[in-house]
């Protein structure tokens, strides 16, 4: 709180006072001032009136909203179910991912879910894959009850075993099979932040989703029904424990240099409102970029060069098409992000970096990994500057680092839209983490919040 010895408290402090958000000494100071100052007491009353109107507004809105469509469930009956759910896997996964999550991010949640689905499917595959003598029908739509998916040890799902033996279709699914499944999901818009995971097992391509919207489940099932060697498997979300909030962010107050950086940005942008819009825009755009980065990364992981080279020409074309669509979208989003952030960051002392050529990568897959690493870096840096996330970097370094990172991500995005790696690119040193980082700022670890 400002020292208002010479004037009146800011209206934010008045609201903070009414909301009980001022700290000990500030409360005392505020009360002393209010005791003396009629003006501020009247101001306080005005605030109260607006608050009362907000409360009235809530009633208005609530009376406009439709009633729940169904009777509420009998929660006592569900306690039993909730108790049998197993969650440790989810919790562990959350902990793996938490460091890079600085604000609610659809893609990050999806990544966590995808992994969890994978774990569930792994278990399920074990159970569901029939013995060699009894192969499953070409495509099986399997619905496994909640308790069976999540509880372990689970009884084997009943459905896939009830089938007629047909030896002729016992053939391992190819990467092409997997790719065609991905193309279907892409067409349905289910490959961006959807908790749907595709895994190629030894006998079947498994399409698994947790908590997928019912109508999308139906669409996916319909589209995949005719495909050979595909199993679709949906389940409801387990009782995922949300990540515990370890120390509420910002509760201890923002680091002073970061707060100063923020007010500098405010000044450049022409006020608090403009700053908020800026921060909001940049973080939202960065989220949009991340979902594309994630999609590309997934393709790269599922179709490494040695797999891609063995695919048919048509399959390779399909893969290239998927990849280029994501890459082009990423390039647009990344351009927008740069356009929005660059002017402000430059004013803060960040030199716009000369266009960085991406570090040599032997393949688009390796480049996608570099892109992924750099984009995560960008995400945490932006979170530190605009989202209140913790960072080891000084406020002085942040703008420069962000500019570099934005430029690098954009360069990687551009690289992904090209069909071949540029000529003369040689092999990349083994171990990919951080290879694609811009060359500047080497003295400080770029782990900002990791």
């Amino acid at each position: 709180m400002n020292n208002f010895e010479t004037g009146h408290p800011a209206d934010g402090d008045l609201l903070g006072y009414l909301d009980g958000e001022l700290q000990g000494r500030d409360v005392k100071r505020m009360e002393d001032h209010l005791a003396a100052c009629w003006q501020c007491r009247a101001e306080l009353q005005e605030l109260q009136r607006t608050i009362a109107e907000c409360v009235q507004y809530r009633k208005t809105v609530n009376s406009s909203l439709p009633e729940p469509p169904e009777p509420w469930f009998d929660i006592y009956r569900r306690f039993d179910q909730a108790g049998t759910l197993r969650t440790p896997v989810m919790v562990r996964l959350w902990n793996v991912f938490r460091p890079i999550v600085v604000r609610p991010q659809p893609w990050a949640a999806a990544a966590v879910l995808a992994l969890a689905v994978w774990a569930a499917v792994d278990h399920f595959r074990h159970e569901a894959e029939p013995a060699p003598a009894k192969p499953a029908p070409a495509a099986a739509i399997v619905r496994v009850p909640l308790s069976q998916t999540e509880a372990s040890p689970a009884p084997a799902p009943q459905t896939p075993r009830a089938d007629t033996p047909r030896r002729d279709i016992e053939q391992a699914p190819t990467p092409g099979d997997e790719l065609r499944v991905l193309a279907v999901l892409h067409r349905l818009g289910a490959d961006l932040g959807e908790p749907v995971e595709v895994t190629r097992g030894s006998k079947r391509v498994l399409v698994a989703g947790i908590g997928v919207a019912p109508h999308l489940q139906r669409q996916i099932e319909q589209e995949l029904e005719g495909m050979p060697r595909v199993i679709v498997h949906f389940s409801e979300p387990a009782a995922v424990i949300p990540p515990p909030v370890a120390g509420i962010p910002g509760a201890v107050g923002r680091r002073t240099d970061l707060a100063a950086l923020e007010s500098q940005m405010e000044t450049h942008l022409g006020g608090r409102t403009a700053y908020e819009e800026f921060a909001s825009d940049v973080l939202d755009t960065s989220d949009a970029a991340m979902s594309r980065v994630h999609a590309l990364h997934r393709l790269a992981e599922q179709f490494p060069p040695e797999v891609e080279s063995k695919m048919t020409r048509a399959e390779r074309a399909l893969l290239t098409g998927l990849r280029l669509e994501h890459a082009a979208a990423l390039q647009n989003v990344s351009a927008a992000l740069n356009a929005r952030a660059m002017p402000v960051l430059s004013l803060l002392g960040g030199q716009p970096p000369q266009q960085q050529a991406p570090a040599p990568a032997p393949s688009w897959q390796a480049a996608a990994e570099q892109l992924f690493q750099e984009a995560r870096n960008m995400e945490s840096l932006l979170g530190a500057m605009l989202g209140g996330a913790a960072t080891n970097l000084s406020a002085e370094d942040l703008p420069v680092r962000i500019l570099s990172s934005l430029a690098a991500v954009h360069a990687y995005a551009q690289f992904q839209t090209g069909t071949d790696p540029p000529a003369g690119m040689t092999s990349m040193p083994s171990g990919h983490t951080g290879q694609g980082r811009p060359k500047r700022a080497p003295h400080r670890a770029s782990k900002s919040i990791e």
Binding site: A10, D11, G12, L15, G16, D19, G20, E21, L47, T50, I51, E53, C54, V55, Q56, Y57, T60, N62, S63, S64, L65, P68, P69, E70, W72, I75, Y76, R78, F79, D80, Q81, A82, G83, R103, P104, P106, A109, G189, L192, G193, P195, G211, A213, L216, P237, A239, V240, I241, P242, P244, V245, I248, P249, G250, A251, R254, R272, E276, S280, G388
Partner: protein
């Protein structure tokens, strides 16, 4: 089978104090949570499912003796996150729009007189003009969450929440002058 047994067991009063507690909270807060999810853009069936899911999670967490300092804030945080996830799964659809403006204008809300309705409309438009984050802060504050708790929901600092609140209240206040 098992459920039948459970139903009988319950009628004999065989429930745990924790179950009773969560059931009480569920009954007391479910409508608020459901409506909050509607304002997030969820369609009514999804909002209702999500609300139910939130309270089951609350039960699971409490059953493990994990400490929840403020259950209401916890419930809204989980509802908010689950709601966003649900909404992103339906991202190709328009978010749910309750058409509040029309309802106020046609007198379907408590505001009956013309003057009251005009005032409510002005206020509603002012709320709509807030940034998404300001709006979230305001709505969560209206549900009784403190700044730090709102910050934990939105992934921003308590002081940023304070700033958003200040801006929001200033804009709303201006709408009536």
């Amino acid at each position: 089978m098992r459920r039948e047994v459970l139903g009988i067991a319950r009628s004999e009063g065989n429930t745990t104090p924790l179950q009773d507690r969560v059931a009480r909270l569920f009954e007391a807060w479910r409508e608020d949570v459901y409506r909050y999810l509607l304002t997030l853009g969820l369609y009514p069936p999804r909002a209702q499912e999500t609300t139910q899911e939130v309270f089951l999670r609350l039960y699971v967490v409490l059953r493990r003796n994990q400490n929840i300092e403020n259950p209401r804030a916890w419930v809204f945080r989980v509802a908010h996150n689950l709601g966003l996830k649900t909404r992103s799964e339906e991202s190709w659809e328009q978010p749910f729009d309750p058409a509040i403006e029309d309802r106020i204008a046609t007198g379907l809300t408590p505001e009956k007189s013309l003057l009251q309705r005009e005032r409510a409309l002005r206020f509603h438009r002012a709320v709509e003009s807030l940034s998404e984050r300001q709006k979230r802060c305001l709505f969560l504050r209206l549900e009784g969450l403190r700044y730090a708790e709102i910050g934990a929901v939105l992934g921003i600092s308590a002081s940023t929440v304070g700033e958003f609140m200040r801006r929001a209240i200033a804009k709303l206040r201006a709408s009536n002058e």
